[in-house]
């Protein structure tokens, strides 16, 4: 089943076309890589899919429902979650609370009940904490944690509500080799739970190791897409990364 369809997405900033009719598809349980050099339009693509940047053309479908017109929080509530390159954790809340606010359903007049009889969090966070190995630091504030762990908190917060699709913006940035390997394993586990993952990453080793499908873009245009192995050896990708066609490969 196709969890996410981003169809013919175009993002423009003023006169600059950051993303030009790019399409991606993510099936449940699948990891799709979105790669490209700096400034290729990768983050704009995630922003457009999640609703943080307006699209000039294209549509976004989540589990078969058109969410193109929905506000970001509605897409998130419907099961489309993301992480941020700059993490954007809630620094005033503990790790567990970071997850709780991302997991609880919102109701219009819940605030009135909370004034009289506060709704405590339901125990839904343990599973996500366990999956990401954060149980031990659950009651810490994010700022007290090392940066690698903070990245994982970002991922945990995005999966706690059991989304159908997770979009990851450079989750391995700043991680060392060990941590990156751990991260890859963790992402695989999340996908095995039935979540569709769209992975933006600079670390192409990681992408080609764990992704089934890869879409490569440059200057906002798709230059290669398909099964990871095909894309890895495509001339267009090599040209984009090295500037000139070259036999050495990546």
């Amino acid at each position: 089943m196709t969890a996410l369809v981003g169809d013919q997405i175009t993002v423009t900033y003023g006169r600059n076309v950051a993303v030009d009719r790019v399409s991606v598809e993510v099936k449940a349980g699948e990891i799709v890589g979105l790669i490209g050099p700096n400034g290729a339009g990768k983050t704009s693509m995630i922003d457009a899919i999640t609703g943080f940047t307006p699209m000039s053309t294209g549509s976004v479908w989540l589990d078969g429902v058109d969410v193109t017109a929905s506000a970001p929080h509605r897409r998130a509530a419907a099961g489309l979650r993301r992480t941020f390159q700059q993490l954007r954790l809630f620094d005033d809340l503990t790790v567990r609370e970071n997850l709780i606010v991302a997991a609880e359903d919102d109701t219009r007049f819940g605030v009135l009940r909370d004034l009289v009889r506060p709704r405590r969090a339901r125990i839904v966070t343990d599973r996500a904490l366990e999956l990401t190995g954060l149980l031990d630091v659950a009651d810490e504030l994010p700022r007290d944690l090392p940066s690698g762990t903070r990245r994982v908190v970002g991922v945990a917060r995005a999966i706690v509500a059991e989304p159908s699709v997770l979009l990851l913006d450079e989750p391995a940035a700043g991680l060392d080799t060990h941590e990156t390997t751990d991260l890859g394993a963790m992402l695989r586990r999340i996908a095995d739970d039935g979540v569709g993952l769209l992975l933006i990453e600079h670390d192409t080793d990681l992408v080609f190791r764990i992704c089934e499908q890869v879409v490569a873009i440059d200057f906002g245009v798709v230059i290669a897409s398909g099964p990871a192995e095909t894309v890895r050896t495509s001339d267009a990708l090599i040209a984009a990364y090295l500037g000139v066609p070259d036999d050495e490969g990546l």
């Binding site: 993301r82 941020f84 605030v111 506060p118």
Partner: protein, 646 residues
């Protein structure tokens, strides 16, 4: 036609001052990234210095002028060095708070240094007007207009053509931008602060013969000045000049032709501000700045009922043991606590800077009285109904908050406070005039007389109960899902939306709740004295309470209690009046205290105690992490195997 011209000409003076102050605001903002809410207060203070040198010490006018402007430059430098430079990497809230501290300090300092009244200033120009196309034009207007126009031109040349101007504009883009040109950021900021403050000084001095001098009134010229600066998008000096002139002339003309609408003239700038801000989302160009420090701590609440029990017991004892005047003052302090609680929700927990909380209290107070007078609703339901009326007003003010944030919202709410003050509280058709401001009966319940005037101690208990109920509700909220959601919004709106949180709903909930609590405070004020006066709800009081809340700890419930005892009319100021015969000192203390707090203890008094505990906790946490890291290290092999299974 010539009628219209007369009013256009009359508007030239205020227009030019708006422009001068607006230019100064832009200069300072570009040079240092600070929106100085104390800017008009600097103008006011300099004008007082000028007047006293000229009229009390008989200095020749040019010398007094030069000396006053020197003082202005010095003030700019000191504000920069002592207040804003230490806060350069602090979050917006802290910097807004710092400049509000400047505003409070200067206003109250001028108040007891130069006097509380309104002072006339001898004219600077020949009184004989000039006749231009059949209209008398006062020399004072011409002078102001010419000065504003030429200073705009000079500034324009300086910022466009000189290396200094280039460096300043570079610094406004990114903090490192200035460094490229070889100027130090700190020096650029200092120079721009001095230039901006001198501009304020010029404006203040030139307007004082026209508008007369009053410490508080002149400080509030910040609202039209902000409007002018915003119309120029803090960028285009000529647009700032034009904006200032349009506002000044507009006020004058509207005052003539639409004088049926009370307070419209004073509200015009606010409406303009809101329009510009809501249209653009944010009128202040963003600076690529580094923020290192955090928002004030919003600690979880523990053992609320125990703490409340102790607090209540002590309060009841004090209310009945203290002399009557102090018991009454204690009651005022308790009501202040309710106002501060309303700030804790909106500013502390959701991070929305609101400078019109006392305005909400005013709406609650007048609504309570109306409900009691016209619907015959008795105590305490009248208070609850009155507070409910406040909610729509709060939501209305909250709507711009859906589009604008940070310092922009501070500007909007300041304007809202002014609009409430001028259009509603000063308007007899809303308040019912003298008669309408009195309650039919004092408070009473089940035959027990709780009248605030005759039974201050008993009424104090009533207030105490209300305060405790509010505190309990807030404690519940903080530990609930909604409370955490509020903190998430405060911390990062984008991330909150990405986590499925409806940011708009959270903000509106907070504005609704906050205005309700403030409305309760207003109702309590009404029953304390049996009547209210619009004086209690001026925008300065909102700023004052903001200061007190921040000093106490704006994100903590305990902070509300800590801050309230410094409130105007509270026991502390009563004691000051009794011992040194001057309670204005408490205003100055809260201004200075605010600055000191925001720099040294941004978490507020309530968190100082906690921070010691926090340090120990942090140490333990670090040890814990070290341990965890060690464990992870030894576990590392296994996930790697899993990870390579494809």
């Amino acid at each position: 036609m010539s009628q219209l011209l007369i009013y256009v000409v009359l508007g030239l003076g205020p227009g030019a001052v708006n422009a001068l102050l607006g230019l100064g605001l832009v200069t300072i903002y570009k040079g240092s990234g600070v929106l100085n809410f104390g800017h008009a207060a600097v103008a006011m203070y300099v004008a007082f210095v000028f007047r006293s040198l000229r009229q009390s010490f008989d200095w020749p006018t040019p010398l007094a002028f030069a000396a006053a402007l020197f003082v202005a430059a010095l003030m700019g430098l000191l504000i920069h060095l002592l207040v804003m430079h230490p806060l350069r990497h602090a979050p917006v809230l802290a910097r807004v708070t710092g400049s509000l501290g400047v505003l409070l300090t200067l206003a109250s300092a001028a108040y007891w240094q130069f006097g509380s009244g309104t002072f006339t200033v001898n004219p600077l120009t020949p009184t004989e007007p000039l006749r231009i196309v059949g209209v008398n034009v006062g020399w004072d207007r011409i002078l102001l207009f010419v000065v504003a126009l030429s200073l705009t031109a000079v500034l324009y040349v300086v910022y466009q053509r000189t290396l200094f101007g280039l460096a300043t504009r570079g610094a406004a883009e990114t903090e490192k931008g200035a460094a490229v040109t070889g100027y130090s950021q700190a020096r650029l900021a200092a120079i721009n602060w001095m230039i901006g403050s001198v501009l304020a000084g010029v404006g203040g001095i030139l307007i004082s013969p026209i508008a007369r001098l009053n410490a508080f009134q002149l400080s509030l010229l910040i609202a039209p000045a902000l409007a002018a600066a915003l119309l120029g998008r803090f960028e285009n000096l000529w647009l700032v000049f034009a904006g200032g002139m349009v506002l000044g002339i507009g006020e004058s003309v509207i005052g003539k032709y639409l004088n049926g609408i009370q307070g419209l003239t004073a509200t015009l700038p606010f409406l303009l501000i809101v329009l510009v801000l809501v249209r653009k989302g944010s009128a202040l160009p963003e600076r690529g700045e580094l923020v290192y420090s955090d928002m004030p701590l919003a600690p979880a609440v523990h053992r609320t009922s125990l703490k409340l029990a102790v607090f209540s017991a002590v309060s009841v004892a004090l209310l009945f043991l203290l002399p009557t005047s102090y018991a009454a003052a204690y009651t005022i302090a308790l009501i202040g606590g309710v106002v501060i609680l309303s700030l804790v929700v909106i500013v502390g927990w959701v991070g929305q800077i609101s400078l019109c909380q006392v305005g909400f209290a005013g709406v609650g107070a007048y609504a309570t009285i109306r409900v009691a007078n016209h619907l015959g609703v008795g105590f305490p339901f009248s208070i609850v109904l009155g507070a409910l009326v406040t909610i729509p007003v709060g939501l209305l003010v909250g709507i711009p908050a859906l589009r604008v944030r940070g310092v922009n919202l501070a500007v909007v709410t300041l304007g809202a406070g002014l609009a409430l003050e001028r259009m509603v509280f000063n308007n007899p058709s809303f308040t019912g005039g003298e008669q309408g401001s009195a309650l039919p009966h004092g408070a009473g319940l089940f035959g027990i007389d709780l009248d605030g005037r005759t039974q201050p101690a008993r009424y104090g208990v009533v207030v105490l109960i209300a305060l405790c109920l509010c505190i309990a509700a807030m404690g519940n909220l903080r530990s609930s899902v909604t409370g955490r959601r509020m903190l998430a919004v405060r911390s990062d709106e984008t991330a909150a939306a990405a986590s499925g949180i409806d940011v708009r709903r959270v903000k509106l909930q907070a504005f609704g709740l906050s205005s309700f609590i403030a409305g309760i405070a207003g109702g309590l004020m009404a029953y304390r004295a049996g009547r209210v006066s619009e004086q209690s709800f001026v925008v300065f009081q909102s700023i004052n309470f903001f200061a007190l809340a921040y000093i106490g700890g704006i994100a903590t419930i305990g902070g509300a209690i800590a801050g309230t005892f410094l409130a105007p009319g509270a026991p502390f100021s009563l004691w000051l009046r009794n011992t040194i015969g001057n309670d204005q000192l408490s205003g100055t203390l809260s201004g200075v205290g605010l600055i000191v707090t925001v720099i040294t203890q941004p978490n507020g008094i309530a968190n100082v105690v906690r921070s010691e505990r926090e340090k120990r906790r942090l140490k333990a946490a670090r040890a814990d992490i070290a341990r965890t890291a060690a464990t992870v290290e030894s576990d590392r092999v296994e996930p790697t195997v899993q990870g390579t299974r494809t």
